[in-house]
């Protein structure tokens, strides 16, 4: 039972790590970034290359997301910013095209092969938790997710930058009138979202493997989390990740053939009766 609970938490943590960036970007900039999955994969590929060339895993965990964030900033400047004020359909189509392009690039640069990021030897093996042996690396993923989320909450709640971001998510015109460069805010937020996706990619690499379509496959689950938690709601995303991760894991244990059906049914019900998400904090324009 302990193992199953930890499995629920692990999947929730992975979903949260990957979807949180998508959530922040939408929450503050109102951009539905369909290329987010590809940026998660980009982080994983950067991490894979670094570790393959002998870079320490922990250093790769720091550097690869920063590189993914940098790529995100460039993409935001070149592609998202010029069409920011147009209808959302434009960004949807454009970011979808971008994801197809990035996924294609993976094949050219890293080939179609399934790869694994080698986990550090210190995280191999299992830990005895109340009589249950649980892999060290999975416990590391849980701890790392908690650290990332706490760090993100501290940034948003305790810093001036966070205050600007929160204000920009609700009254961007006022923030702009106060002299804040909103273009810079949007760029920074997009970069931060991509850094978070990159962290998810590097952390998932040793566990789930690295391959070109990994981002596209994960994106669907991220949107389920976003819809259930409410678009743009950070607290909602945390709650939704826990719910989806638990439902999916328990589904596979007890109702194998219906596990995914349960998750999508849950999403449909919430979308029907709680369109702003579990905490009614979803932001719709």
């Amino acid at each position: 039972m302990i193992q199953i609970c930890l499995n629920c938490l692990l999947l929730s943590a992975l979903l949260l790590l990957i979807s949180i960036g998508l959530n922040i970007i939408y929450g503050i900039s109102r951009v539905v970034n369909l290329a987010h999955g590809s940026l998660y994969a980009l982080g994983a590929y950067f991490g894979y290359s670094m570790v393959s060339y002998g870079v320490n895993f922990y250093a790769a965990l720091l550097l690869a997301p920063l590189l993914a964030g940098l790529c995100g900033v460039v993409l935001e400047r070149l592609i998202i910013e010029p069409i920011r004020h147009r209808d959302m359909t434009y960004t949807l189509i454009l970011t979808y095209g971008l994801s197809v392009f990035i996924d294609g690039m993976f094949k050219f640069i890293w080939s179609d092969k399934v790869q694994f990021i080698q986990m550090p030897s210190s995280l191999r093996g299992t830990l005895n938790l109340f009589g249950v042996h649980y892999p060290n690396y999975r416990l590391f993923v849980l701890a790392a997710t908690v650290c990332v989320i706490l760090g993100l909450l501290a940034l948003l709640e305790k810093t001036k930058l966070g205050m600007i971001m929160r204000a920009a998510s609700t009254i961007p015109e006022m923030v702009s009138a106060l002299g804040v460069n909103m273009k810079l805010v949007h760029m920074g937020v997009f970069g931060l979202g991509c850094v978070l996706a990159g962290i998810g990619g590097v952390i998932a690499g040793p566990l789930l493997s690295v391959y070109p379509m990994m981002g596209s496959e994960m994106l669907l689950s991220c949107f389920v989390v976003l819809v259930i938690g409410g678009l743009g709601s950070l607290r909602g995303a945390i709650l939704a990740s826990l719910l989806v991760g638990t439902a999916q894991t328990l589904g596979f244990v007890f109702l194998t053939d219906f596990a995914m059906v349960i998750v999508y049914l849950m999403m449909a019900v919430i979308l029907l009766f709680m369109p702003k998400g579990l905490l009614a904090e979803g932001k719709f324009d």
Binding site: N7, V114, Y137, Y211, T249, D257
Partner: protein, 394 residues
């Protein structure tokens, strides 16, 4: 002067009457190769394509004509596969189709056999539906699902340690996974092998975290797992199982993960049991020659799928030669009963059902000894089965 002019004109006339391309070689024999080069099955497709290209290089010519291999990517999609096959047959004028990585594409192309009207020999499709499917449709290179299952069950029967264990069955949730799992459960039960979950577990195709299944397997207290998972997915499951320490307690029998997938997963796959026709562990002159040639040509660990495609392609080339031309019916006739002594011994296409009979190896993934390919993992042969043992009976 007039005489000189007449000679010049005569020479010019002779020259103009000569064929325009006297030095150009005869038209090539074109072979169309449809493989999956995009998505999860891409590595298998690349291995297949490379095996066929190597066979063409080694064969050199057919009936004095060079061989031209034209490759198309089916992206793992049936519709794309049919479109590419049509392009190869009607536009490129290939005389035969070969390759095909995944079952759905293979079945789709086979369904168009009358319209395409060229022999189609798959080197990788494993579905039993190919037995006697159409007079122009053949399988040679890869074993069928039923042959693989028989080999895996025999592998258990031949090892007393495996025989005394009870087995948990896990399958990819689609036609191939279901068919493998059901075949295995049926045959294993008949042979007295204990199956813990006769209704077996289906794993969603986009599953990334295997821990729920690992937990179920741990709590089921079984000694073995039979995992009918696609080649690129199996090492991911095994690696996650290894993280939980499962590999120390249970034996896992998988399909036949590609060498590239095993290399990527590394040491965590050590102990994984599988079946294949060929592995570079086979120590015969022809096997060694193939492995060295493959390495020299592609600088990759010689793969099972490459050897299988090499074998299938050679059988096809020889059949065209035997047919004495490119008439589809004559090539098909020559393929029936065709034999070939290749990297894994003699294979034969049964005239009864157009599908291959072959020796099969039961293999275990182990740490590789020092080798010229730089491989970390080797598929070590632990049992060899004859074509008669693997069947099906004719």
């Amino acid at each position: 002067m007039r005489k000189g002019l007449a000679v010049c004109i005569s020479v010019l006339l002779v020259l103009t009457m000569m064929p325009l391309r006297p030095a150009v070689a005869a038209d090539p024999i074109k072979i169309g190769v449809v493989v999956t080069l995009t998505g999860m099955a891409a590595q298998l497709g690349i291995d297949n394509r490379n095996g066929i290209l190597l066979a063409a290089k080694h064969k050199g010519t057919i009936l004095g004509r060079p061989i031209q291999i034209i490759t198309e990517d089916d992206e793992g999609q049936s519709e794309t596969g049919i479109r590419k096959a049509e392009k190869l047959v009607f536009k490129d004028k290939v005389v035969a189709l070969s390759g095909v990585t995944v079952a759905n594409v293979g079945q789709a192309i086979a369904g168009e056999a009358d319209r395409l009207n060229v022999p189609f020999l798959t080197t990788n499709v494993m579905t039993p539906k190919f037995y006697g499917l159409h007079p122009l449709v053949f399988r040679c290179g890869q074993v069928a699902d039923d042959q693989m299952t028989v080999a895996q069950v025999m592998g258990i029967l031949k090892d007393p340690d495996l025989m005394k264990r009870s087995w948990y069955v896990l399958a990819d949730d689609y036609a191939w996974g279901h068919s493998c799992a059901e075949e295995f459960i049926k045959l294993a039960t008949e042979k007295g092998i204990k199956i813990k979950n006769p209704t077996y577990d289906n794993a969603a195709l986009n599953l990334v975290d295997w821990s729920p299944f690992v937990s179920k397997i741990i709590s089921a207290e079984v000694g073995g797992v039979y995992a009918c998972l696609r080649s690129p997915v199996a090492p991911r499951f095994v690696q996650q199982a290894a993280d939980f320490g499962l590999m120390e307690k249970v034996k896992i029998i998988g399909g036949t993960p590609s060498e590239a997938a095993l290399e990527a997963a590394g040491e965590s796959v050590v102990g994984l049991i599988g079946t294949c026709c060929w592995t570079w562990d086979i120590d015969t002159p022809k096997s060694k020659a193939f492995a060295e040639a493959y390495w020299k040509e592609f600088k990759e660990v010689p793969p099972s799928q490459g050897a299988q495609a090499y074998t299938g392609a050679f059988v096809l080339f020889n059949a065209i030669e035997k047919a004495g031309g490119t008439d589809p019916k004559k090539i098909a006739e020559a393929l029936k009963g065709a034999t070939f002594e290749g990297p894994y011994g003699e294979v034969r296409i049964s005239p009864k059902d157009n599908c291959m009979r072959t020796p099969v190896k039961v293999v275990v993934a182990e740490r590789a000894p020092k080798n010229p390919f730089g491989a970390k993992i080797i598929k070590k042969v632990v049992a060899s089965l004859t074509p008669e043992e693997v069947g099906p009976a004719e």
